[in-house]
Structures are given as C-alpha cells and as structure tokens.
C-alpha cells in the first residue's frame, strides 16, 4: 500500500488546489519504467513529510483532463502546489534528495 494518496480529475481541485497544506503531485502511469523507479522515493518522502506536506499521485492513464491542463508531455513529472498555485516542478527521473530539496522549499 502506497503512502501517497491517489488523486484524479474529479477530486483534483478539492485535494490539491484547495488543500490547506502544500501538495506534491506525481504524474505517473503503469507502463512507465522511470515512474516505477521513482515510486519508492515518493513513498518514503510521503512517510517522512506525512503531516506537513500532502504527497499524491495522479495516474495519467486514467485521467486526462488534469495532465492536459498542466501541459504534461512527459512522465514522471512532479508538480508542487502551495495555496492552489503551481510553484515548482521536476521533470523526468530525479534523485530523492532533489525532490526533498523542492519539498523543503514548500515549508
């Protein structure tokens, strides 16, 4: 069971844009090798930041409106939101400490 909460087209606004905490959204798909490779790091960070930052995942296979809205053309893509605004992003396979740096800036 993943520590990261699944978000989708219908709950994206409530779970991400109107969240009272900063949010990380990991856009992924089951057929993407690097997405699977990055998943353990996302899970660990979800456990580490539990109370302070909401860590979520969005499956682009099942949801097209949200990835379309943010112009996502490559995965994994990590988007960082604060107060409903997109404030940071990481594209492609990145190391856990790089994600950690971006999360620290959200606090």
């Amino acid at each position: 069971m993943s520590n990261a909460k699944e978000v989708n087209d219908s709950n994206f606004e409530a779970e991400v844009l109107k969240s009272d905490k900063p949010v990380l959204v990991d856009f992924w798909a089951p057929w993407c090798g690097p997405c699977k490779a990055i998943a353990p790091a996302i899970d660990e960070l979800a456990a580490e930041y539990g109370g302070q930052i909401k860590i979520t995942k969005c499956n682009v296979d099942e949801n097209s409106a949200t990835p379309g809205k943010y112009g996502i053309k490559a995965i994994p893509t990590l988007l960082f939101f604060k107060g409903g605004d997109l404030v940071d992003q990481l594209r492609g396979l990145v190391a856990k400490n790089k994600i950690d740096e971006s999360l620290k800036k959200l606090l």
């Binding site: 090798g33 997405c35 490779a37 682009v60 112009g71 053309k73 995965i75 594209r91 400490n97």
Partner: protein, 307 residues
C-alpha cells in the same frame, strides 16, 4: 593492513555494476554498490530487449533489471543510494566522497554508464518535458495520433522510432548522414514502415512553441536550406556521453572521454576498474556490460587477494 569500510565499492547500478556485484558477492568480498538514482541504468527506459540471450521472446528493460537485482541480492549484495562527489584513488586506500560522508575501500569498480547527448539546439532546454523527450516508452502515449520528429540514426533511434509508430500518426526521422547506422534488421523494419518519413543529411537547429513544442527547425547540411516541421513532439537519440564528471583528472580517459582500460578492465590507477558503457568499449549493449562487470569483479578480487 589499513582498515577500510569495504573490500570493494561498485559505483553505478546498471547491468555492468549489478553483474560485478553478483561476482564479487559470490567471491565473498565485503562489497557495497552505490547508485545515485535507482538500480537499472539506461535499460530502465528501453522498451524492449530482444538481443540478450536467455529470453527468446524478449522482455522490457525494467523486467530484465528486476531479475538482475533479485539475483544480486540473493547473493547478499548491499545496495545503497548515494551520489559520488569526488574520489581520491591515488593510494592503496581509495577514498570515495559522497555528499555527506566519505567511505573507504581497497578496490573500486566504476560502472557509472553514460547519458543521452543533447543536440545543443536553440531552446532545447525550454522544451524538455514539454515535447522533447528521450524516452519513448515513457512518453509515446502523450503523442497519440500526433506528428512527431525523432533525431538520430543508430540502433536506439531506429528501434524507439519503430515503437513510436504504434502511437503516432507520423514520424519524421532526422539523420545527419544519408544512411542509417542501425543494425540491418532494424533498418529493414524502419524502411517498410509507412509512418516513418526520413529526412536525410539534416540537423536540428532549434525548437519553438507557445507553451508546449510546436515547431522543429531542420537544416540540410549539404544545401544549407532550413525547413520548419510542425510537430508536437521531438525524440532525441543522438548518442551518449560518459558519466565521468566526478573523476576529475584521477584516471586516464580516451579521446572521447571514456575511461581507458585493458582487457582486465584495469584503469590507469591500481585497484581501480571500469566496466560497461563508461569505458572505452566498441559496443554498448547489456550483453557487453555484463561481460565487463564479470571481468572487473574477478580482477578486483585478484587485486585484493594480492595485497
């Protein structure tokens, strides 16, 4: 003898490093593998591997990686995440500096692989992840029924372009020469695929678009003429560069920057070995990386015994 943290440290967790790990673990060396991202290396982004013996039906790159890791861990290989910042390889105790700590070892195997080269074209960086990609298996579904470009003429460029044809409406395959370098079986498949249009003798000079990629500018190197292609994506497969940034001047490199080794995978520094894509090899495949890894680990074990 000086005390060290490990007999052997393997830097890099692709096929070369994992094979070295299997051999070193079976030799009962006290060995650590360091990987900066996740084990697997370049083959994680390879959609299909059909030339590695033992898997007659072929399998996805990540599937092969999982088997390598399982086998290495069965023999007790310890794998940690960490990026090497610099190394001191001059003495009998090798010092490997990570971001927060330094570890010591009697021998080191460098198996850090290589990374896809960039084109160096105008606005390339701006559109990375906004239409420019190097991973067809990751990103092809975003270009369903679209027109895309691909750049390159080697095995990777042709194989991945063939994969893209399952999704896209059309691919312009842009190559700077007038014939492909890819292995013949892939050429035959590409020439008989009517979704691929070849643009020969041409290089990409720039990219443009409002938010995501919309245009690729292509120049014919023979005539000097430039044309604009309207595409939503551009996949870049123009070769590789070795991941050697952390080495400084500590080892002898060949003219292209790959680590120079002999048939025993020995570098210019005693007790330091290199294996796989990062070394001066004539072929960069899973099958060759695996052979390099086995030789490097065996040479490292002999070196440690001789101390």
């Amino acid at each position: 003898m000086n005390t060290v943290d490990y007999d052997l440290v393997i830097i890099g967790g692709g096929p070369a490093g994992l094979t070295a790990g299997i051999y070193a673990s079976r030799a009962r060396l006290n060995v650590l593998m360091l990987e900066k991202l996740v084990p697997g290396g370049q083959i994680i982004v390879t959609d299909w591997i059909e030339n590695y013996p033992g898997f007659p039906e072929g399998l996805p790159g990540e599937g092969l990686v999982e088997k390598f890791i399982e086998q290495a861990q069965f023999f007790g290989l310890k794998i940690e995440t960490g990026e090497v910042v610099s190394m001191d390889l001059s003495g009998p105790v090798k010092k490997i500096a990570l971001e927060k700590t330094t570890i010591t070892a009697r021998a080191v195997i460098i198996a850090t692989g290589s990374s896809p080269k960039k084109l160096g074209a105008d606005k390339e960086k701006d559109f990375l992840g906004r239409g420019i990609s190097t991973c067809a298996t990751c990103d092809a579904p975003f270009f369903k029924d679209s027109v895309v470009a691909a750049v390159g003429g080697g095995d990777t460029a042709v194989q991945e372009s063939l994969y893209l044809t399952k999704y896209v409406k059309k691919i312009y395959l842009i190559h700077r020469r007038d014939q492909l370098r890819a292995v013949k079986i892939l050429q035959e498949r590409a020439f008989s695929n009517n979704k691929i249009e070849f643009i020969w003798n041409s290089v990409v000079t720039g990219f443009d678009g409002l938010f995501n990629l919309e245009k690729v500018f292509v120049q014919n190197v023979k005539t000097g003429e430039t044309q604009q292609l309207d595409v939503e994506g551009c996949f870049v497969w123009v070769g590789i560069q070795p991941n050697t940034g952390f080495l400084g001047n500590s080892l002898k490199l060949d003219d292209a920057g790959f680590i120079a080794v002999n048939a025993r995978m020995e570098t210019s520094a005693p007790g330091v070995f290199a294996a796989g894509d990062v070394r001066n090899t004539p072929l960069r495949q899973v099958a060759t990386a695996v052979g390099d890894g086995a030789i490097a680990a065996t040479s490292a074990a002999h070196y440690i015994e001789s101390l």
